[in-house]
């Protein structure tokens, strides 16, 4: 007897018949850098491949340092943009790069958000806003509607709010110190925002506990939530297994990074994750 897996349709790579060569690196020159806040810097990179979808990511290698996954915060003719938060050795070194320097890319990898519904609520926290602002651009340029709900410690740390407003997208802001918008966490606003009942679906990216709360609220209120996850990644294309979500065996890199919220609730999402060794640890 063969068990039918609920995740069958998740393996986006079946029958894709990519070539092994597509898992090699291509150099990309930095065209422009922009400081987004004290921690996050955006890089416009020369890029001539097919246009990646919001939610897809690249593996970004800085020779001499590590290779790290980075979502796209924008993309267009001849460029992609990544928005890098300074979190450790590699991202710190990335912050030191300037126009004309090069990074090395593999990708785009992953499935990306589905943007078919409208209006959408986009809920971001920290650098998790990166894929959301790219999604917002795609939505608004294709005539859809969305609201950008974002939080930060203080006004100065808010990400992409001006960019969203510049595209005419309604933005709702929460700051912990109350220096702009609501004083508190985005998760405080979710419930009431969803209650308004306007949204066909929610896209979210940010700290896992935040996403967990968003998913829970969405499921409770019967609204589909797509959450873009992070897990420790080594290969980025589904071979090593390090980015797995237990116990369903979903790979964040190639079955995700975007998953349906109700599927995620059948996993360790919000509870546990795997470290570089594969060891399972409590999410904190």
């Amino acid at each position: 007897m063969q068990e039918k897996s609920p995740t069958k349709s998740q393996d986006k790579s079946v029958g894709k018949d990519q070539s092994f060569n597509s898992f090699g690196f291509l150099p990309a020159r930095i065209k422009r850098t922009i400081g987004e806040n004290s921690k996050v810097k955006s890089f416009y990179l020369e890029y001539s491949g097919t246009l990646p979808r919001p939610g897809q990511f690249f593996m970004v290698w800085l020779p001499g340092f590590e290779e790290v996954p980075m979502s796209l915060s924008d993309a267009g003719d001849g460029f992609v943009r990544i928005s890098v938060s300074n979190e450790g050795p590699t991202t710190a070194e990335l912050h030191r790069l300037r126009k004309g320097d090069r990074v090395f890319l593999r990708g785009p990898f992953g499935n990306g958000f589905s943007l078919d519904e409208s209006p959408l609520l986009l809920v971001g926290g920290g650098y998790g806003s990166a894929p959301l602002i790219y999604a917002a651009k795609m939505v608004s340029s294709s005539g859809g509607r969305c609201t950008y709900l974002v939080g930060a410690r203080c006004k100065e740390e808010l990400l992409f709010v001006d960019e969203a407003r510049g595209m005419g997208i309604k933005s709702i802001v929460a700051t912990e110190d109350g220096s702009e918008g609501y004083r508190g966490l985005v998760t405080d606003l979710i419930k009431s925002e969803l209650k308004k009942g306007r949204y066909q679906a929610v896209l979210t990216c940010g700290p896992e506990q935040m996403m967990y709360e968003v998913v829970r609220q969405g499921v409770k209120q019967g609204i589909k939530v797509q959450a873009s996850l992070e897990r420790y990644m080594k290969c980025g294309f589904g071979i090593c297994g390090s980015c797995v979500l237990d116990p369903l065996g979903l790979r964040v890199c190639s079955d995700g990074p975007v998953f349906d919220g109700s599927l995620l609730l059948k996993t360790d999402f919000g509870k546990r994750k795997r470290e570089a060794s594969g060891a399972q640890v409590k999410l904190c």
Partner: protein, 300 residues
């Protein structure tokens, strides 16, 4: 028609997931249920937890992958406690890959694996890019004998030995057989590297890695063919299986089963079913009643 018996182990088809691919318990389950693998092999487990090497740990090249994951694993205790049970839910035999630094470690981990419910152990004597855990073991027939004897005595379940390409490859295999191994897995990755000409640097953080994928298939096929002339225990072919033809040529060269690894990166988890269908089709078309009839047929 595709069912095989590998010693005590019954498989619904001769296709196994290779060690280190997908690797965690829940993905091994998925390889069996969704993917259709006849058996699955775990990541090679070491005594202590290993983070593995810094990234990049794997890179695509023409015809394959080069990896230097560095035997990342949570240590055998954690893996056997948390991942093995998940893997077993796939209802296909689960073979635990073991990477020790000496006879004692191989024994300790293998015994624990057997106790935890492993259907067999596969001794990794051939990682081309990790010191002490590496090729130097499998390339020396005497060391091979010592390790296999040790593990064999301590265990009830089948013991497989995974060898890599080396000058004394067949000698090592014979030595493993004489020491009581139940099967030989051939081959592991081949030591290689990639340099990015724009970066002017080796790509892998570890510089050296192991080449896998279609690129090494003709080499692996040769190894299996040679072994079939020397061994009486079953051979498991590994290296560059990418479709039913490359699985079938392994069988014809003398392999009783084959492992599939890198190809999952380009063809997805469903590759096992695809290969199974291709082989079945071939067997029917050529009036074979069972896949066992083609094993070693290229020698006749």
């Amino acid at each position: 028609m595709l069912k095989i018996k590998l010693g005590k182990i019954k498989m619904r088809n001769p296709l196994m997931l290779a060690s280190g691919i997908l690797c965690n318990g829940s993905l091994l389950k998925r390889a069996a249920t969704e993917g259709g693998a006849g058996a699955v092999v775990t990541k090679s487990l070491t005594k202590e937890v290993r983070e593995g090497y810094h990234t990049p740990v794997v890179v695509g090249v023409e015809g394959g992958l080069i990896n230097a994951v560095g035997l990342a694993n949570p240590g055998y205790k954690a893996y056997l406690a948390e991942d093995l049970p998940l893997a077993k839910k796939g209802r296909a035999p689960v073979i635990v890959s073991v990477a020790g630094r000496n006879v004692e470690e191989f024994e300790e981990i293998s015994v624990a694996a057997a106790e935890a419910g492993a259907d067999a152990v596969e001794l990794n004597l051939s990682c081309p890019h990790v010191n002490k855990h590496g090729m130097e073991i499998g390339a020396d027939p005497a060391t091979v004998a010592k390790i296999v004897e040790g593990v064999r005595e301590a265990l009830e379940i089948p013991v497989y030995v995974k060898l890599g390409l080396s000058d004394r490859f067949t000698e090592s295999a014979v030595s493993a057989q004489d020491a009581g191994a139940d099967a030989v897995v051939a081959i592991n990755t081949v030591k290689a590297m990639a340099i990015d000409v724009e970066a002017r640097k080796p790509v892998l953080a570890n510089i050296y890695g192991g080449l896998s994928g279609p690129a090494i298939h003709p080499i692996a096929l040769r190894c299996v063919f040679e072994l079939y002339q020397k061994l009486s225990i079953p051979i498991i072919g590994c290296g560059g299986v990418s479709d039913w033809r490359t699985a079938l040529d392994f069988l014809m060269a003398g392999a009783s089963a084959v492992q599939v690894g890198s190809t999952l990166a380009v063809k997805g988890i469903g590759i096992f079913r695809e290969i199974e269908a291709g082989i079945k089709n071939y067997l029917v078309r050529n009036q074979f009643r069972s896949v066992e009839e083609v094993i070693g047929i290229a020698h006749r």
